[in-house]
Assembly symmetry: C2
Homo-oligomer: 350 residues x 2
Amino acid sequence: MPYKLSIIGSGNFGSCIARHCAANIKNVPEMDQHIKMWVLEEIVNGESLINTINTTHENVKYLPGYNLGENVEAIGDVVECCDADFFIFVVPHQFLPATLQKMKGHVKNTATGCLLTKGINFKDGKIQLLTDTVEEIIGIKCGSLMGANIANEIARGDFCESTLAFPDIPERETWKQLFDSPKFKISCTNDIVTQQLSGTMKNIVALGGGIVDGLNMGQSTKAAILREGFVEIFDFAKMMFPDRGVDILTMIESCGFGDIVASSYGGRNRKCAEYFVKFGKTFQECEAELLNGQKLQGTLAAAEVYKILVERKATEQFPLLTTIQLISERKVAPTEIINYRGHATVASSA
Amino acid sequence: MPYKLSIIGSGNFGSCIARHCAANIKNVPEMDQHIKMWVLEEIVNGESLINTINTTHENVKYLPGYNLGENVEAIGDVVECCDADFFIFVVPHQFLPATLQKMKGHVKNTATGCLLTKGINFKDGKIQLLTDTVEEIIGIKCGSLMGANIANEIARGDFCESTLAFPDIPERETWKQLFDSPKFKISCTNDIVTQQLSGTMKNIVALGGGIVDGLNMGQSTKAAILREGFVEIFDFAKMMFPDRGVDILTMIESCGFGDIVASSYGGRNRKCAEYFVKFGKTFQECEAELLNGQKLQGTLAAAEVYKILVERKATEQFPLLTTIQLISERKVAPTEIINYRGHATVASSA
């Protein structure tokens, strides 16, 4: 019996990865070629989005202009997608737990999952990896795929790479084959913690990059800020998960180095932070004026990480992350981005 | 007796570091406040450059508009600079050996040096670190300072950082104090090999970044190319100097991460490579048209590294460095930058 793949989620990134896997799965003999994709039904241009996808093979709302592949079937009921052996989770962070609750009890315990959603659950000064959320709610092993891969760039066939993090399970090789292609280079790691934290926290560093850009500072300055962010992300991973194999080598994979660089030169967090500095707007205003309904992940992550740092009296060890949050709250001026070593103390005594 | 500092070199970077040290040395009590700077005499605007510096405290040719400090004395005879305890070497790479030959026999054997010139001596498939060249010719311990620090950005007081690499010597702390300031953050390492190789080879990676820019590829692609370059630089350092303490952690200092990022987004190698792709010019033409007399370091380094890789039959382990050289020679098209894994074989069989 070939293994079945279901994709849980069908937004911009979900559709793009569906298109990618629909083509790639042809080279993975142990997989069933038919892919189910859970789609939240909505009416687009007077038509059911699900019907449109199933007749035109295009997600006209979230990835217009691209054929997803005839082997992708849009399905409105997530429970109908639960007979799979391989699950890709790519729903927005905030909808993940509710979606998993609906799936609970319908999933084979031999199935495995791979998370593509970037994000972390922050709760009461603790954090939970989203892959742990998956395991906790539906009881299957779950890894994740993160890296410098912007959805539309993958869709149009740009060369990019990504990092697949999995505990050491036999299915990892099949997972790799599902994603790996000449234009989408996959490397593997066991270090699921650093990979996921970096995937979320690079957005905070990207805010720092945008602040530097907004101030018209030079490339040396921007490189210094990115480098400090790189180091602080790793130190944060080590502090929060001291016993889970956090490894600096993970940071030099696409999920670390690649994603920090790509997001700090492109990406919406950088863009909004530049605007925040240049026009003196709040981040809420930047979001409203620039993002066309998309949300800014960096400011949320910055606030959550800062809360943890204050609780743990650790702001001095993370001066840049601290300073970016203080700048976001307009407690210190954007120009203070380069004096980050001075602000940790302000914050810890606050 | 306070220690004396001499700066050997007075070009753009030399003048900029003279200005920086002239201010910084005030905080280093064990140092004599008077600094000698060796200047190659020339006539600028009808006046002796040495006289002009000593009367106006400005290097009107190489760093116009900035006061170097009244404690900096320009000296035309390099032998007169040889009574120092601390030497900063900042002459262009190709002039270093001849300059050292003139100094030979005049330098105290208790003196130490710090090299700011980026470059490597490639010779007969071997390479020699420039710090080893200093030690070999004048017999003093020599470290180096490298990082993402563009001369004019330091001069105008932009925030940047740099990495000081020294064998473990007591003078290291004084050296650090000579450079470290709130706007110029210094970190230290013993790993002199990785630091110097990275300082030179980041120019090759920057060519890769420029090729990606010339092709209008996205941020994900550029990040992937930079990341591969980062890894290959480290692997090259390990291959060439297996017994000299090469450490991946050096790569995440300013001399590695910082310099690769800054040079691949700013910098002349990136700029010329973009032009090379967009207008189909040779690199010699790009240099002539864009650099106003400055030389391109990346193409020289790429050719030298490639020669070593071919001799060692190691092109397959360094596919990006190999591909960048093949693109520079127009043996493969610039678009092949993303297919770098395919070219190593072509090259090794060539």
